[in-house]
Structures are given as structure tokens and as C-alpha cells.
Symmetry: C2
Amino acid sequence: MKNYIENTVNKSNFFKLLHSSKEGNYNLRIGIIQNSLGSKLITPAFIPVATNASIRALDSLKLKDLEINGIFVNTYHMHVHPGEDIIQELGKLHKFMNYDGIIFTDSGGFQAFSLGQAIEHGVGKIVSIFSKEGKKRNNNIEKLAEITDDYIIFKSHLDGKIIKLSPEKSIDIQIKLGSDILMVLDECTSPLASYEYTKKSMERSMRWALRSLEFFKKNNKGNQYLYGIIQGGHHYDLRIKSTEFISSLPFDGIAIGGSLGTSKENIKEILSWVMNYIPENLPRHLLGIGSLNEIFTAIENGIDTFDCVIPTRYARTGTVFTNSYPFIKDITAKYYNQIETKKYNKPIDENCNCYTCRNYTVAYLNHLFFVGEIAAMTLLTIHNLYFYSNLLKNIREAILQNRYLKFKEQFFKKTS
Amino acid sequence: MKNYIENTVNKSNFFKLLHSSKEGNYNLRIGIIQNSLGSKLITPAFIPVATNASIRALDSLKLKDLEINGIFVNTYHMHVHPGEDIIQELGKLHKFMNYDGIIFTDSGGFQAFSLGQAIEHGVGKIVSIFSKEGKKRNNNIEKLAEITDDYIIFKSHLDGKIIKLSPEKSIDIQIKLGSDILMVLDECTSPLASYEYTKKSMERSMRWALRSLEFFKKNNKGNQYLYGIIQGGHHYDLRIKSTEFISSLPFDGIAIGGSLGTSKENIKEILSWVMNYIPENLPRHLLGIGSLNEIFTAIENGIDTFDCVIPTRYARTGTVFTNSYPFIKDITAKYYNQIETKKYNKPIDENCNCYTCRNYTVAYLNHLFFVGEIAAMTLLTIHNLYFYSNLLKNIREAILQNRYLKFKEQFFKKTS
């Protein structure tokens, strides 16, 4: 097995802006994030979610084949199992999961939302993704998180144990996990929260950001990097206040979190408010974003990284990405009849060079899904992650060659 | 994708006996089975089960990495979904699943047992494997198969549709699937069946073998091979009668099926009865066999191939094979406590060279199982299939070098 001895990276080498340019109204940039193991992540980059230190249905070595050099692990889940002390004893996350790419951890704050208000309000990514199929997974689920001014109280989804997550505790866990990029504890507010609640929550998140930072400064060994998180919902004054506060503190990077409103236009608007206040030299992460439209919007506003479960979760329900409108295709549809069969005797995308498209047909993948074979999920996860990885590579190339606008136009022209 | 144009193999090249030797009382042999795509399977070989044209939790290309050159697909399942006509239109099984190794198909006769009498009698592999955990999966399940003198009547496990499987229909399906090795339709009797029932069933299986052969001779194109199946339960006179009958017909190979009794000693006894009556030049397959003890017994009696779900099914429940007593280890056990943690920061088997052992620790695999990550099943399936593949390779090497007895002794010496 690989030797995960850490070489401390010069702090100034953690993030470097390699290129920045303007096309139309867009501020575009190319950067590089490096970790102490020598891995390099070229940005803008999509960061898939490995909730339990595993991309669902995929082993970690496959990520390198897919040129995925950054992943996003959930601190709350790692705390619940196997626990940060065990991970630390086993040599920290990179060694534990055999992955030397850039590991982001969140703070657990998102779970305060997804296991708390999201359930109460019947909203959140899980609900919205599944609602297209009329499945509301969060209905009738007990709320498992409450927020106080000092900490989030969770009831473990695994064993019901009570967990108190303070800013200090969250950073302590993340330090022990050994992720490269840590997030301050915050609350991700619901899009249905009132102005008053969002304001109160944001002020608390600001206090928590400061406490997170203070604990981090005292306890980190120099090869981990802490991001502050901007909150404030879809309210201009709150976003500006939060941005100014977070940007004034010595964070290694800035994340934008919380409710980004209820439509694509909201995301654009919120990014246009906050991006001017964020120092140019800091890496910027947009939390929980990943539809194709959102990715382009993020990049056009100078976002460097963004994480999302979309490509992997879609894969497990049989939905694959393609290069032409509507960009997704349901592989589980009942394709078979004697007239149509041969039409599906070809890959998902004949121009795709992924492992799945090079080796398997839609007909076979459809069959595997129909009979419930696990390999189907793995093969579709590979395809979707390749699609995202390849799209981002093409976008970076276009930015460097100052032809981003053309690339985007061509990409969406396939719409018709 | 690969070009699956079939080159017709000279019939005499389908099976070749390369070596035979005697050590102690054992008749050992090495052979080679070739298909029309040029793939070679060196025997004795373990043939994993790919029920739905997919080894569970593994994509077909991984089989080549594991040097697995033969698999066993279930005809009944392929008929139910997607159907043999569709498979034929898509270019037959090898192309459909992108696997050019030797594909065996059964006849559907085993499902007459597993979906019929096995449910009625509360026996069968599924029951016995799970009974170690006290789980009797077949309890309260409706019987889905009945046998008449002309055909098996199934109620499809997928949609309840009635399926009538006659000997001719079974061969017709298998010809359309394009498997390399086909089996005659038979009934696999329950170990709890009476002498009278077993006799009646065996006589019917003999008539069905003849009808299967006649249909095959008329309809096959020359690049598929048909095995007769010996039945007769654990009754000497029935086994001999069945063996003489099957061996007198022009089959391309001989399979031994049905109930092999209720203990390991029974298998030895039954094989000692029948093997002398089977022509030396024909390949012999032992149906549904695959525990470590059974494998050694089969090989010692001149069996060339045997199929079983054990390594793959064990993998999915978290049980892995190792090279020392008790040869299996439960990876899902609760290992974690602060004293024990480091003990599991190493591979399943430090001497194992499989992908899983080269890259992942027991601690990580245990975690993946605990939190329900799919990658765990894939990684353990790889390990278990590698273990079987490697064991068989070592056995073949030992046979060729006339040191099988020594090899076996050393293998089981690790028992203490």
C-alpha cells in the first residue's frame, strides 16, 4: 500500500491562481489546489460527495482513473461511524480510504439542515431530486437535529445516540480526520426560513466561524486549511454582511453556503452580490451545487470548486448524462420490444470514452437495472463522474484559450 | 467494443485432456475447454455463477483480471428477462455481456427445484447457506414451480407470468442465448425426496435428456456443446442406471446433478459410484458445488469444472476466504475499540495479491459494510473470486507436478 507520510506544503502553495480572464460579463479563473501528499487539483473542479469516505458504488482508486482529484466527505457521518479517533489512529482519512487527492470535509452544519429543518419543511436536495419521480423520501421522517446557540444536537441516524456538535468539536473532528480542507461550523438555513430566522442564524454562524477559526489556529499542524462559510439566505443585506465578516478573517478559503434561493436566477444574483467582496487570492467553494446550469453559473462568477451528489445519485437511480439535450437519459426505461431492441445495442454515448461506454451497451445496462444487479450502479456512476470530469476539463481548457463563451454556446446549442 | 464474430472451432478441439495422473487413490486430470471465440479454460476450474448474465457486484471485464475464464448463467432467469429472442437479436450472450470466456448455461431444471420442492421442503443451497445465521429465507415463500411429465411450469418470479419449459424449449432458449456449453433439461431432486420419487424423476430426466439431445442435434450450428446430466439422488442403483444411460448417448460432456446427499461423505461416495462409467475423453461438470472441501473431493474424482454461488454470495454478506483455518472470516464483525483498532489496519490477507488486499484494509472494509456502502460488496467479491481462482491455479500446478497430495496436506495443515 501507498505510503501516506505527509510532507508539509508551504502554506502559500496551498492555492495558486494560475490564470484569470474576462469574457463578456464573466470573471473566469484557473487555479490549483495542492495538498501535503503532493496531489494537485486544477480548478474550476467538480468535487463529488463521498459521504462515508466512499463514493457510492465505486472504490476510491477508480477516482484516479476518472481524473477526479478532489472529494467531499461528511464530517457528521464520519463521526457517527467509525469515529474520528479511530480514523486518526488508522492514519487519517487519506490512508483509511486509500486516496491521496484533495479531501474536503464539511462541518456537520449541513446535516443540521438535512436532518433538521429540511425534514420539517419538506425541502432540501434529497426531496427535490426525488420529487421528479413523485417520491418524497423525507415524508414522515422524524427530525434528527436541533440547533442551540452553542451547538447542534443530533440524534445519530445509526443508533439514536445524542451528539452535541459545537464549532470547536467540529474542527477537532476534522483535524483528527486529517482532511485537507476543513469548513467552519455553520447552519445551512432552509429556503423557507423567514428573514428574521435567517438573520439570527447568520449571526450565530458568524460567531461560530470565529470560534472555529480560533480553535483551528490553536490546534492545526500546518497542513490543513480552513474555509469560512458565507450565509445569509437570499437576502442582499445579510449576504453582504456575512461576506464582509468572513472575508475579514484569516481563512485559507471561502465557501458560500446556505439557501441560494429557489431558482437558478437566485444563484446568479447571490453570487453577483458576494463575489466582489471575496479576496482574489483565496479559493472559493460553492456548497452543494452541481446541476449543469449551476456549474456554468458558478464558474462564470469565479467559483473554483463545488460539490454535489447529483452525478452519483442520478447514476444509482439509472439516470445518465449525455452531451445533448436534455442532457440526461433514463436508462431504466422499458426499452425492449422486437422493433426497438437493436436501437439500444450501443453505448450510452457513442462519443464518450468512459469505461462504461467503451465496454457496455444501453441494452445490457437496462437489463442489469431491471433485474437489480449492483454492477449497473457502478457502471453508471463511472459514466456520470467521467461526464462531469471531462466537462470540467473542457471548460478549463476553454477558459485558458479564451473561448469559454463559444464553448458554452456550443455545449447548449446541442439543446435543439 | 470487441468484435464477437464467431470462428467455428473444430468439434474435436472443444475439450482436450492434457494430463492425467494417479496420486494415492485419486484420479487427477488437467484439461482445456475452448470456445469459438478462442477463449481457453484450463481445468479443473471453478465456474462462478452469473445468474442474470452478471456476476453480482462485478462488471464482466473484471473476470479477465481475475483470470476467470468460465461463468455459469441461468437460463430460466435469462428467459424471464430480457428473453432469449432479445439476447439473440443483440448478438447473443458473449456480446451482450462483453465476455468472451466459456459461458455455461443450465437448463432451468435447477430452478424447478429451487423455486419448487426446495421451498416446499425448506431445503436447498439458499436455505443451508443462510441457516448459519439463523435466517431461513425460503420460509413462507410461495412455491413457484411444478413438474409434469412434459415440462416444468414456472410462475415467473418477476411478473407472475406462466412459463412452460419443455426439454425442447430449454434447448431452444440456450441455443438462442449462444452459450458455449448447454445442459439438458432435468429435474434436480430434493435430498428429502423418497426413493420412489427420485426414481420416477430420474426416469423422466432420462427421457428429457434424449429429447434435449434430439432437439439440439437438429438445431445447433456446430459451435455449442451439450452436456447430459446424471441424476439419481443418493441411491446407488439409480445413479448407475442414469450414468450408463447418459454416457451411452453422444453428448459433448457429462454433468452430475441432483441431490448429492446430505453430507460431504455422500458426495465422495456418489462420485466413486459414477466416475468409472463416464468416458475419459469427455469433460465432466459437477453442478452447484463449491465449498473448499467439496472442490478437493471433486478434483480427486476427475471432475473438470464445478459452479457455485459460495464465493460471491459470501462476499455480499461480508464473509471472506483466507488461507488458514477456518478459511473464512466475517468482515462485518464489530472490530472497533481503542485497543483493537490497529490490529485491523491491514489487508484481509497480507499474502494475498488481489486488488482488494493490495489496496484496502480490514478496518476500511468493515466500515464500508457497517454503513452499507456498495463498494464493500464489490471489493469482497473480487477478493473471494481471486482466492478461488488462485487456489485452482495452485491445484492445477500441483497436479501437473505430481505433488497434489502434498499441496492438499499443506493447505489443510494451516488448519491448526
